[in-house]
Symmetry: C2
Subunit: 229 residues, 2 copies
Amino acid sequence: MDGPTFREKSVLHSVPDIDTSEALTERQKAVLDAALRLLVEEGDQLTMTAVARRASCSKETLYKWFGDRDGLLTATVQWQASKVRVAPVDGKGLDLASLTASLERFASDWLKVISSDTSIALNRVAVSHAGSGKDNLGAVVLENGRFALAKRLKPVLEAGRRTGLLDFADAETAFRTFFGLVARDVQIRLLLGDRLELTEAAIGGDAARATQQFLALHGAKPGRKASDS
Amino acid sequence: MDGPTFREKSVLHSVPDIDTSEALTERQKAVLDAALRLLVEEGDQLTMTAVARRASCSKETLYKWFGDRDGLLTATVQWQASKVRVAPVDGKGLDLASLTASLERFASDWLKVISSDTSIALNRVAVSHAGSGKDNLGAVVLENGRFALAKRLKPVLEAGRRTGLLDFADAETAFRTFFGLVARDVQIRLLLGDRLELTEAAIGGDAARATQQFLALHGAKPGRKASDS
DNA sequence: GGCAAGCCGTACCGTACGTTACGGTTCGGC
DNA sequence: GCCGAACCGTAACGTACGGTACGGCTTGCC
């Protein structure tokens, strides 16, 4: 059987939620992993020849499976996206400590993601792609990055509001505030080639700081200050 | 006389402060404007032939003036950067109203910049470039964007701290918080091809919100000493 | 006028790379 | 053992584009 062909021209934001990249042979996954590794190492100029050589497959096979270069790129990005899908957080019994921990966890995870070589490479190629007419890759990356994060975080925020720990009018706006406090200038600096290695400790500190700032802005407790707790 | 050649391989962050792109003929500026327009319209695949045709000049001239394609790109980016250089804000008599107005102004200006077609196109090409070995463009964009903003905003923040209106330990950290509150997810979404047109009104609202949030975090509230933190 | 410099337009060259074609090999089904 | 399908490796093709060369035109200077 031959795999899917990945040629649908999906409009932005039309990716349903769970996408279609699951009918993949083990061999195909291996090929995509090779392409991914090459993408991280070499940047956008991964050539079909290079992928074929790295994956020890023929170019004919690449074209049969993925249609053309864009199809291969899209499949690679979706394959990576399918690997990082995580279990949603359950709205269990919530107190300030667990809410803080959840937020810090989200912040820390997100910082780790956007500072990883893989994410940087993928975002770079998607940004380039978005500049060149066809918007597919940018939509995929956005959907599996920023929008997936929102979808996982918003239930936590709303649970916090229900239990009276948080106070905000619009969950989307609150999420974007949190996003800004966490990411700040990190992603754009990394994409533009700034060194800026985030150590584990720095990420932890930033996650805690962002969480405290968010709680200072949207925590419901009256009379609180950002520095205590 | 022939202009500069733009071939220096400057290391990241080594751009002094005011760069060298001022010895330009009117004709050269016109050519760079044409390249800039083409970059905005066509994305990264502006070819030397296209620039020559658009600018009504010969390719030979392009190569003589700018060395090679990268030189042209770099000159174009620096040319655009030199156009947006603004007068620094003076640390005049500062009260809460004028500080708030200044911050809102910075926020609004910055949102306008990063949502402009020109900025998006320039950042896209710089991000692509940063992925392909040579980091020059990314450094230039960073230096004239995010770092230039910091250099202009920090004196305002520090003046606010001196007059007791603001309370923060590190100006750099405070700036990055402000940056995050203003930009949030806007830039990455635009770079990845998300529509998201910011109207004048929306920008104004966002600037005011970000400013209020920043003041909530770092404003010296009555009943709180400027020295604790 | 004569001359040199700068520049335009265009033709040209070399190469990289996407895409296709094809011979050879492996493997499952009969 | 035989057949066809899938696939590997490699060669070949077409094109787009970076870079160069050159003839002709304008301009300023003597």
